[in-house]
């Protein structure tokens, strides 16, 4: 057996993390693609089935669905049995030319936890592909071809997109970048067969990517010390040799235990960033190896409860606040000591976090803690695994009324609305300017898709405050309300804790019922299982689009830094975050909103106050900035009244706005 056992739990944990519905996906595959993405590889064994028991006796999805009505269940099961339409698409290259022989992965965003297996199809000679045999639901689509990279969705920081059966998709692959150079030891001799890794720390604009899983690439030096890492996403990279971790291949290194040497010849703190552009080669990234013994970070892992039989735990060290891995090790959860030792660590600041899980996915994590390494081993650390929280509930699609359906605009809407075609996301609510906070691998958006009955569960959540967000794939739908039952059933939190989860940001919203979560805010305690979240989605959504144009005599607006806002004009929706919409205009100033609740809105375009992040935080989320937004919108007094099913795409929005008459 080549792959060392001690490595396995870490791989497993990482795989669980990737499969946990968190924002990790096959995006995490090493850029040097030699085989299907990790998810695929991991599943080429008989023993890594999806977590749900495919026991032939139970044909329904297991898990949180036990309490749904039996009749609904039977109907829904029937519906799930119906074959969905295929996803059709085309793969094109840099210049729009078709690419043949590309593997396309369609990964179901299924509500059940655990491993999901992608559908894999091959594009034909013209680059066309068709994914068939799909069950209704949402699918993440990605393409893999060695040396090429997918376009990155700027909002998620990940390649690929989410689609539903019946969609037509164009998948664009571009030539990745290359980093190449030579590694020599302090005597000037080539360093042979050593792993060189490149981690993307910023995009080319200097933005830090929102995902805690940076793009990376790896290759090994040859007999001349030469390495060549190809297929890299454009961006700014740090490049290093040695240091932690056998790669997945678990090869004994002649330099194991050494601290990593970052290009050109230093630590992470003194690393020079290397710029990588699509299809271009960055040469001469030569590294002088420091040949310096690394330190150890050791300690013990505490489990709050006895681990179930298939439980595995791992401890991970990342460079402080960045999420870039510095080392990891598996811990035997049922051994007496539960000790861990992460080696090959250079002086610097790190964040340490433990995770654990089994076939049901990741179920435990420790709070991340800061670890400073200064010239010596760090010993005696204690890490306590705490249960992760979850949020579950039901999404109901309310049919529109007879009168609404009678409207001309609403006549040609899809007949069957599927709850599975909704993405429910929670974003951890971060206090600003807290980059000094230890990095948690779980501090990222988590999403879930309801099953055919509308039941959903968001898992692997740390304690803390979250914001809800939605993505509806059917243009006819909008989110009408989000509610928690008045006496929220929570485990193990106390009733008082549950009360606090309700709507703390908008206490004075007079017409909101006590259980409404109009603020979209949810507070979670450690291990809490918040249930009963009720999401009501309605038919008759409007869409609204147009263009920002310069006011007479004004300079061209700075589109790239701008945001367009829709602010609810009706008093009763003043603090209902579901009625606030925000979009970034395209480079020509055009903008578009979908899935809007019908009603009266104030329309405002203004420069974003939050330009240092790749995905700016919506202005409506904070009470102060929401009030400011409303004041500005009321001052300009540009309004739009949206009727059910209305489609507006030619709205002209002047910037800067002219003062109201």
């Amino acid at each position: 057996m080549r792959t060392p056992r001690r490595l396995v739990p870490v791989l497993f944990i990482l795989a669980l993390l990737a499969a946990s519905g968190a924002h990790a996906s096959f995006a995490q595959q090493p850029v040097v693609v030699i085989d299907p993405p990790p998810k695929t590889k991991q599943q080429t064994t008989p023993t890594t089935q999806p977590a749900q028991s495919p026991s032939p006796k139970t044909q329904d999805a297991p898990g949180e669905n036990a309490n749904r009505a039996a009749a609904t269940k039977a109907d829904a099961t029937k519906a799930a049995r119906a074959a969905a339409s295929p996803i059709n698409g085309r793969v094109v290259g840099d210049a729009g030319e078709p690419l043949a022989g590309v593997a396309i992965y369609a990964l179901p965003r299924s509500p059940a936890p655990g491993f999901r297996s992608p559908h894999v199809v091959m594009a034909d000679e013209e680059g066309n592909f068709q994914v068939t045999g799909l069950d209704p639901g949402l699918y993440m689509l990605n393409a893999s071809m060695p040396g090429y990279v997918s376009e990155v969705d700027p909002l998620t920081g990940r390649p690929g997109g989410t689609y539903r059966p019946g969609d037509n998709v164009v998948v664009r692959l571009v030539h990745g970048g290359v980093i190449t150079g030579t590694v020599t030891d302090p005597q000037g001799e080539p360093l042979v067969a050593q792993s060189v890794r490149a981690f993307r720390v910023h995009d080319l604009d200097g933005h830090t990517p929102p995902t805690p899983f940076p793009f990376s690439g790896e290759n090994r030096t040859d007999d001349r010390g030469v390495y060549r890492i190809y297929g890299l996403q454009p961006g700014l990279y740090v490049v290093f040799v040695g240091g932690f971790a056998p790669s997945a291949y678990g090869i004994t290194s002649a330099y194991g235990g050494d601290a990593p040497t970052f290009y050109p010849s230093g630590t992470r703190d003194t690393a020079t960033e290397v710029s990588v552009r699509a299809g271009q080669e960055t040469m001469g990234v030569d590294i002088r190896y420091r040949d310096e013994q690394g330190h150890r970070v050791t300690g013990t892992l505490d489990l709050p409860v006895v681990a179930p039989g298939d439980f595995d735990t791992g401890v991970m060290l990342t460079f402080a606040s960045t999420g870039m891995p510095a080392g990891s090790v598996g811990v035997k959860p049922n051994s007496n000591e539960r000790s861990f030792s992460i080696e090959s660590i250079a002086d610097g600041d790190y964040d340490l976090q433990a995770m654990g899980g089994g076939r049901e996915g990741l179920t435990g994590a420790s709070a991340p803690q800061r670890v400073s390494v200064r010239g010596a081993d760090v010993t005696g650390l204690r890490v306590t695994l705490a249960p992760l929280a979850s949020i579950s509930g039901t999404l109901v699609i309310e049919p529109s009324s007879e009168t609404e359906r009678a409207r001309d605009a609403c006549k040609d809407r899809r007949a069957a609305q599927l709850p599975q075609e909704t993405l429910i996301t929670v974003n951890p609510e971060r206090a600003r300017a807290t980059t000094a906070r230890p990095f948690s691998r779980l501090s990222m958006p988590h999403d879930a898709t309801p099953d055919e009955t509308g039941a959903f569960t968001l898992r692997t959540l740390e304690s803390g405050r979250y914001r809800l967000a939605f993505r509806l794939f059917d243009e006819a739908l909008y989110v009408r309300s989000v509610q928690l039952p008045a006496a929220t059933q929570t485990t193990p939190a106390t009733p008082t804790t549950a009360q606090r989860t309700v709507n703390s940001a908008a206490p004075r919203a007079a017409t909101t019922s006590t259980g409404a979560v109009a603020s979209g805010l949810l507070d979670l305690q450690t291990g809490q299982r918040l249930s009963g979240l009720s999401i009501r989605v309605a038919e008759g959504a409007a869409s609204f689009g147009g263009r920002i144009v310069a006011s007479e005599g004004a300079a061209p607006p700075p589109f790239a830094q701008m945001r367009v806002h829709l602010v609810p004009q009706e008093r009763e929706h003043a603090d209902d975050l579901l009625r606030f919409y925000e979009a970034a205009p395209a480079s020509d100033g055009s903008f578009s909103f979908k899935n809007l609740a019908p009603g009266r809105y104030l329309v405002l375009a203004r420069p974003s106050t939050d330009t240092d992040e790749a995905a700016p935080r919506p202005a409506a989320w904070d009470t102060d900035s929401r009030a400011k937004l409303r004041r500005e919108a009321e001052a300009t007094a540009v309004t739009a009244e949206l009727q059910p099913c209305q489609r507006t795409n030619d709205f002209t929005l002047r910037f800067p706005p002219s003062p109201p008459k």
């Binding site: 080549r2 792959t3 060392p4 056992r5 001690r6 490595l7 396995v8 497993f12 693609v33 993405p37 695929t40 590889k41 991991q42 599943q43 064994t45 023993t47 890594t48 089935q49 999806p50 749900q52 028991s53 495919p54 026991s55 032939p56 044909q59 074959a83 590309v102 992965y105 297996s117 992608p118 559908h119 894999v120 045999g133 799909l134 069950d135 893999s144 290359v178 042979v192 067969a193 090994r220 040859d222 007999d223 060549r228 997945a248 678990g250 290194s253 002649a254 330099y255 194991g256 235990g257 006895v306 681990a307 179930p308 039989g309 298939d310 595995d312 035997k332 051994s335 007496n336 089994g358």
Partner: protein, 577 residues
């Protein structure tokens, strides 16, 4: 254990195997027992901690080679990726590893540019070395030769670079050992984004260099993009037409460019899984498929990427080259009551549809596990909780259809149940992760020993009354083999065997066997209390020399030293063994 221990040829397999291991070895419910037992094995070393040292030399011919890292690796395979100690050779090629905790190790140079003599075909690589307290071992020498390099570029029929393809290098002379450089990474043999490859550290000789798939059988290009027919340097698809590439020590064969033909067209196969009893579709069945060679044996097996059938029981696979395949369901970890037949189909020049695979109700076996050799009952109970039990159906051909079934957690009273078994001869295996010295001593069916016969299962049989006797041993034998009249022939292998004699479980406990190290030292751990017979055998050129049997009596947790003298002038016993 399933036969997953053979060396993984490809990284994907290695990773896959890692997950097999993960699931197979994932530990049972928490217990203090594991540590308590693990301590017994290492305690004896801890008592005499005076560190040891090792010196030696790495030379090329008579000249010492400077700057070579020599590493001491744990003899525990799970720890082997990490060097316990390492040292660089000085200008004369000498190295010194000092302050080493006594124990058993593999020692080897980590020098992938070099060919280490006598080590290319060893696994684990390196020399076995047992270090006693205060040992100062010298003259651990390695002879190396700088390997050769083959480099070139791989292009397709249109002249485009072929990226991330594995380049195969096979010695033309079948007597030459295949080149396997100690720490091997298959990515070192892949083309890069320019189609360029560079393979170094090759032993001198003539090689056939090729890219692509052997077309004797079908190939599953699952997610692997294009499939090319195997093409030898420079552009030959027949082995006989391959131009040999000569590699001389330390030299470089350049421009070994390979031009591939068109990619092989691949096809899709699809079908359904149904329950044989009802004909109803079987949703969420994790399926696998494999290519068959002309004899109908499986040459590869893919888990379908862990893909499962959809809500309508349908499955499909992509990227099949023309050839014969079979498709089947993988058993689920929580043993279900069903097993899958394996259905074969042929891909010629079109997609294959309508493959129907039936799930049949399997046989079941239930019984009880007992643990002997441990007087502490509570400890035995804790140990029992960690045991995992598997059933295997013996199979004569190389079937990738998983033929094993794992029992759910063992009940506190030791009872177990295995279900979903296909008909055939059942073997039962049990183990406990991390606990040395726990082994199955005997499997009984209704009181009769079925160790050698196995259990015959007929279709749908429901057997009860199986008893799996396990024995726990914590005693240790430390041996020293001394040779008189001789140097030992250079290729001789020396092994020590300990066989339990007398007592109820004598027959089944089987022989414990270990290799002796370069100095004739060995350690046998995990022995149950009892009488043992120790025999040392020397294997050389198909002949066996056997020492006189020595008897020792071991107490629970005992630690025994034993010395065996072997006269190399004495006549060899027996013939080929």
């Amino acid at each position: 254990m399933p036969k997953h221990s053979s060396l993984a040829k490809r990284s994907a397999t290695a990773l896959a195997a890692a997950f097999v291991l993960l699931v197979l070895l994932s530990t049972a419910s928490a217990s203090y027992a594991q540590t308590a037992f693990a301590q017994t094995a290492s305690a004896s070393y801890a008592q005499r901690e005076t560190p040891a040292s090792v010196t030696g030399r790495v030379r090329e011919g008579e000249r010492g080679v400077a700057g070579i890292v020599v590493a001491l690796l744990s003899s525990d395979p799970s720890q082997r990726f990490k060097a316990i100690a390492r040292a660089k050779t000085d200008a004369e090629g000498r190295f010194r590893l000092s302050n080493i905790t006594p124990g058993r190790y593999q020692i080897m140079p980590l020098a992938p540019v070099y060919v280490v003599q006598g080590m290319s075909d060893n696994w684990p690589p390196g020399k076995l070395l047992t270090l006693l307290a205060g040992d100062e071992v010298s003259d651990i020498d390695f002879s190396v030769e700088r390997g050769g390099v083959i480099t070139g570029r791989v292009t397709d029929a249109e002249g485009n670079a072929v990226v991330a393809e594995f380049v195969s290098v096979e010695p033309a002379d079948p007597n030459t050992q295949p080149a396997r450089r100690g720490p091997f990474d298959q990515r070192d043999q892949m083309t890069d984004d320019r189609g360029v490859y560079r393979i170094y550290g090759l032993p001198a000789g003539n090689y056939r260099v090729s890219v692509g798939q052997n077309d004797e059988s079908g190939t599953v290009s699952y997610g692997r993009r294009k499939v090319y027919r195997r093409t030898f340097y420079p552009d030959a698809t027949e082995t006989a037409q391959a131009r040999l590439v000569e590699v001389k020590p330390g030299s470089e064969a350049t421009d070994i460019d390979i031009t591939l033909g068109r990619a092989v067209k691949t096809y899709r196969a699809s079908g359904r899984f149904v329950f044989a009893e009802t004909g109803q579709p079987a949703p969420n069945v994790v399926f696998g498929f494999g290519a068959l060679n002309p004899k109908g044996q499986h040459v590869s097996s893919f888990g379908g990427g862990g893909a499962a059938t959809n809500a309508r029981g349908e499955f499909q696979t992509e990227g099949l080259t023309p050839g014969r395949y079979s498709v089947f369901a993988y058993p689920q970890q929580d043993a279900t009551d069903f097993y899958s037949e394996s259905v074969s189909f042929e891909v010629t020049d079109a997609d294959v549809t309508g493959v129907l695979v039936k799930l049949k109700r399997g046989a079941s076996v239930s019984g009880v596990i007992t643990i002997e050799g441990l007087s502490d009952r509570a400890a035995a109970a804790h140990l029992l909780a960690q045991v995992r039990l598997y059933g295997y159906i013996e199979s004569s051909n190389r079937s990738p259809v998983p033929n094993y079934s794992r029992a759910p957690a063992i009940a506190p009273d030791g009872s177990f149940h295995l279900g979903g078994l296909r008909p055939g001869k059942l073997r039962i295996v049990a183990s406990a992760d991390g606990t040395k010295g726990l082994s199955v001593s005997q499997v009984e069916l209704n009181g009769a020993n079925v160790n050698s016969s196995g259990i015959d299962l007929t279709e749908g049989a429901q057997l009860t009354g199986v008893r799996v006797r396990m024995v726990y041993g914590s005693a240790v034998i430390r041996g020293q083999v001394n040779f008189t009249n001789g140097p030992l022939p250079p290729n001789a292998r020396v092994m020590a065997f300990a066989r339990r004699v007398g007592g109820a479980v004598a027959e089944a406990t089987g022989e414990h066997q270990v290799s002796t190290d370069a100095r004739g030292l060995y350690v046998i751990e995990g022995l149950a209390a009892g009488e043992y017979e120790i025999i040392v055998r020397v294997f050389n050129a198909g002949r066996v020399f056997e020492s006189e049997a020595q008897r020792v009596s071991l107490a629970e947790g005992g630690d025994m030293n034993i010395t065996t003298a072997i006269d190399l002038n004495a006549p060899f016993k027996g013939g080929r063994r």
